[in-house]
């Protein structure tokens, strides 16, 4: 038999995994996953982001993908949309860069300037 406390734990745990089905307001991380992105190594980046989000229980963060963003030479590209903030575009992302993006930008709100598209070129 489950106690009320156990029920609450199930509720929290399950909600973390399924609340992407509700209208969402939290952060959205979008990984460019067209042929160009995949060829440049977007899959390990996506998996790293997912892994890190899961590890830190970031329940209001959705990890999604998109098609070609149009700057194939800068792939893998990761875009971060935080509520009420300008979109930030990261380019030539690697799994280790992705770790920093999640830890600093998504969790602490500090944009990792040196990886953004603005510091390229």
């Amino acid at each position: 038999m489950k106690s009320i406390k156990e029920l609450e734990e199930i509720r929290k745990r399950t909600l973390d995994t399924i609340n992407i089905r509700k209208e969402r307001t939290g952060t959205r991380v979008v990984v460019g996953m067209a042929t160009c992105g995949i060829a440049a190594g977007a899959r390990p980046v996506l998996l790293t982001v997912m892994d890190e989000v899961k590890k830190n229980n970031l329940s209001d963060v959705a990890v999604t993908q998109t098609g070609c963003i149009g700057m194939c030479r800068l792939e893998p590209i990761v875009e971060v949309y935080r509520p009420n903030e300008e979109k930030v575009t990261y380019v030539k992302v690697t799994p280790s860069k992705a770790l920093r993006i999640v830890n600093e930008h998504i969790m602490q709100g500090k944009v990792v300037d040196e990886y953004t598209i603005g510091s390229e070129d």
Binding site: M1, K2, S3, I4, L7, I10, R11, R13, T14, L15, D16, T17, I18, N19, I20, R21, K22, E23, R24, R28, V30, V31, G32, M33, A34, T35, G37, I38, L46, L47, M50, V53, K54, A62, V63, T64, Q65, T66, G67
Partner: protein
């Protein structure tokens, strides 16, 4: 549960299921595996999304992409493009969601925009076979609150204040019903759920059971606590195999979690429930017949009083509510009775689910606040009438209800307004008819249904409906005579007044309401021997248009009674006296030279 970046929700309600959604689900699983995505993307089988006309439906989160009419062979493309590369497959999206420059969210589409989903809130959102998902969306939170912080009297007070009325059709205040049963003193009481949805065209109870079975279990437990019962039964039609299966799984899961049983949530409260299958008799939706059926007797009604709240199942105080009524209960306790009462009209609170069917574009299930107009439901949410045809009437309340003609399209839907129009809410079937439907034929159809389903216990219903059907048969065959309409009216009033149960008392409604609004059609059948809509075969006449006839003779060869004659290359003639109105000639003529009038 694992964390997945994307959730593929596949509708496994009866509609989509019979359109092949299981194969789609299996293809998704196979394709995801092939592309190594099985740890990133999860496939969930869920309940009805409501837009059954466009099934099978697949929704992919987090984008909430709404794919409609998906075929098993489309799955490969969706997985490769959408799930692997992140490119939504536009050509398979529900067309309404595709705007010129962007993809609209499903809540911006006409079909969903005006809906308020309370009873259907979890349908299509959770996997109904996984209790944890129900719990995640505040499931079993209401029973927690009720058992730990409220007295039974407070529970009844909340239901009363919410203004909830029975969604099975009668519209009796649910809180009052509970109060009567709670005041009956007895050592044993029962809580029943009526899932014997028998109206042709209504399928909301099925969808709730298929999509959110735990809500019913939770609500029945709350009801049991309120009246002091420890045993419940859900009486469900055996024709709903998916609903029965999911409900049975849900009951077992709830028992495992101690949400049913001897000591629910450690509070000492005891309640358990079982499913009982009905054999599909319409009359078993009537409460006393339903109770007799559960007892193992023949499903026949008995006179009331005593009402079931005093003397019900096995002679004990019993409450019986409909599936949709129960589906509202947990929400009322979570959001408060004032929230529920803030929706709807003065006397009809909350929302109502309607099953749209007949001549309407968006066949399916919709949930709207009471007080929404028929026009909004049919033309905005339902997408109007197909093929540019004209609206003639909508039948609500199935065989017990009546029709609502065009001049009353702006009526606000609630229990009392529909009754004032000679129809009723019923369980919420809404069948739309256009100019091609013959209203006499519609009345005949519903009466044919009640004659079949009359249990035969009382004479007015058994004999009266049969006599009415005979008159209607006569009229539609072109043998109607003066006095038939008056005889129909006399019979109808006698049956309404003298029948034992709701089935007989409401059976004449389709005839009375079509007589009120479409009396001219009856008169045309009887006096002019014409069916204005061209439906009644017995009144149809077939003609050859001379100018169009090439004299090929195909019609004469096909005619089963050899009533078409003529010489090759000259126009043929149909002998109306011999014609059996089978319509074969019209179908076979290559030059469209034969018409029906």
């Amino acid at each position: 549960m694992e964390m997945y970046r994307s959730h593929v929700m596949i509708c496994k309600g009866t509609g989509c299921n019979s359109a092949g959604s299981e194969r789609i689900a299996q293809n998704f699983e196979a394709e995801l595996k092939k592309h190594g995505l099985e740890n990133e993307v999860v496939v969930e089988r869920t309940g009805c999304f409501g837009l059954c006309a466009l099934g099978p439906i697949v929704i992919i989160y987090p984008e909430a992409s709404f794919y409609s009419q998906v075929k098993p062979e489309d799955v490969e493309e969706i997985v490769k493009e959408h799930l692997l590369k992140g490119r939504v497959v536009k050509r398979l999206l529900y067309a309404e969601t595709v705007a010129e420059d962007k993809i609209k969210s499903i809540n911006e589409v006409d079909f969903y925009k005006k809906q308020v989903r309370v009873a259907l809130r979890n349908c299509g959102v959770i996997n109904p076979e996984n209790i944890d998902e129900y719990i995640a969306f505040d499931g079993y939170k209401a029973i927690e609150k009720v058992l730990t912080t409220m007295t039974p009297a407070e529970v009844i007070d909340v239901v009363k204040r919410s203004g909830l009325r029975g969604r099975g059709g009668g519209g009796f205040p649910t809180g009052l019903k509970w109060e009567f049963a709670s005041k009956s003193v007895n050592d044993k009481k029962y809580v029943l759920c009526n899932a014997d949805e028998g109206d042709p065209g209504a399928f909301m109870d099925r969808s709730v059971l298929e999509g959110d079975p735990h809500a019913i279990i939770e609500a029945m437990t709350i009801a049991a606590y309120a009246i002091g019962a420890d045993q419940g039964y859900v009486y469900c039609r055996a024709e709903y195999p998916i609903a029965v299966k999911r409900l049975t799984i849900a009951i077992n899961q709830a028992r495992e979690y101690g949400l049913l049983g001897d000591n629910i949530l450690g509070t000492g409260f005891k309640f358990d429930m079982e499913v009982r299958l009905g054999a599909g008799a319409f009359v078993c939706g009537e409460e006393t017949a339903l109770i007799a059926s559960i007892e193992g007797e023949r499903g026949m009604p008995r006179p009331r009083p005593p009402f079931p709240a005093v003397k019900g199942l096995f002679g004990k105080p019993t409450i019986l509510n409909n599936v949709e009524t129960y589906a509202n209960i947990p929400q009322i306790f979570l959001n408060g009775p004032e929230w529920f009462a803030s929706m709807g009209t003065e006397k009809s609170k909350g929302t109502k689910v309607f099953a749209l069917g007949g001549k309407i574009n968006n066949t399916g299930l919709v949930e709207i606040p009471m007080g929404t107009t028929m026009r909004e439901v049919i033309f905005e949410i339902g997408g109007g009438i197909p093929n540019g045809k004209k609206y003639k009437a909508a039948q609500t309340g199935g065989p017990s209800g009546g029709c609502i003609p065009a001049e009353h399209l702006d009526v606000e839907i609630d229990y009392d307004n529909l009754i004032a129009l000679g129809s009723m809410m019923g369980s919420g079937g809404l069948i739309v008819m256009d100019e091609d439907n013959c209203m006499v034929d519609i009345a005949r159809y519903f009466l044919d249904f009640t004659v079949d389903e009359s249990c035969g216990k009382c004479t007015p219903c058994r004999e009266g409906t049969k006599r009415m059907l005979e008159i209607l048969d006569k009229i539609t065959e072109g043998k109607g005579e003066k006095g038939d309409i008056e005889m129909l009216e006399t019979l109808a009033h006698t049956i309404k007044n003298a029948s034992l149960c709701g089935l007989g008392q409401t059976a004449p409604n389709p005839v009375l309401s079509t007589l009120t609004y479409f009396r001219d059609e009856y008169e045309a059948h009887i006096k002019d021997k014409k069916c204005p809509a061209g439906v009644c075969q017995g009144l149809a006449k077939y003609f050859v248009i001379e100018e169009k006839c090439k004299g090929c003779g195909i019609c004469a060869k096909q005619c089963p009674v050899s009533c078409i004659s003529g010489k090759p290359k000259t126009p043929y003639v149909i002998d109306s006296a011999k014609c059996v109105k089978c319509g074969v000639c019209l179908e076979k003529c290559p030059f469209k030279a034969i018409v029906k009038q």
